[in-house]
Symmetry: C2
Amino acid sequence: MNTKPEDNFPFICGLDAALRVIGGKWKPLVLYFLRKGPMRYGELQRSVRGVSDKVLIQQLKELEAHGIVLRTDHREIPPRVDYTLTPLGCSLADALTSLCGWGEKHSATIAAALAGREKEGVG
Amino acid sequence: MNTKPEDNFPFICGLDAALRVIGGKWKPLVLYFLRKGPMRYGELQRSVRGVSDKVLIQQLKELEAHGIVLRTDHREIPPRVDYTLTPLGCSLADALTSLCGWGEKHSATIAAALAGREKEGVG
DNA sequence: CCGAATCCGTGTCGATACTG
DNA sequence: CAGTATCGACACGGATTCGG
């Protein structure tokens, strides 16, 4: 078994390592919304529009197992579960902000490209 | 209706928009390696270890259709194809650097978490 | 919040056109 | 036969939909 950090680096690069954590289809969005503060499960599902409850829970569990989010079950009726970013998850969400800014800045271009790239002179 | 940004924003947020472009499993890695300069297809496939030729070509085509990379077929024998980042792709690759840095910084923690999180005192 | 059926993205293998 | 870039059929795993 490998115990040394050098041996525990089966990644191509830092980006590859990060992708192992946010590799899920919706994980980056979860990080993004959780960045503003703790959220209940339902709140999260409504925010990340398009995700199914099954997958959201699944990816939430993975993020929890990877030490990115913290799940708090208040054991109440009706069920009340909060999800919060750990310090590690917070730093990860912070690393996503530049990507978020890029998406905002080029949203029109991206939308045009996704639509079929018929014309790019939208500005 | 001249395609105002508000109309061309079918995204939840900027991060959502960015994910439409780098949504593929290997696209971020492609951006990362292409960031250093033009690369031939074979070079790219050897760099992004783990990706199959079929999927790499597929995602390369999508990136090209989205205006992120530029495909240059030299029409030579043997086949010679170069892939380069467009200015847009270059800015996208730049937005990924913070994520890359995060992965490098926490690579040991990530590796431990992926291994099952048995212990985190690897340092 | 979990399970079964289904669809889509991805991985594996094989095939193609042409040169050395 | 070996190498380069690309595509096709098939199978697996992840993601969505529906049902409990």
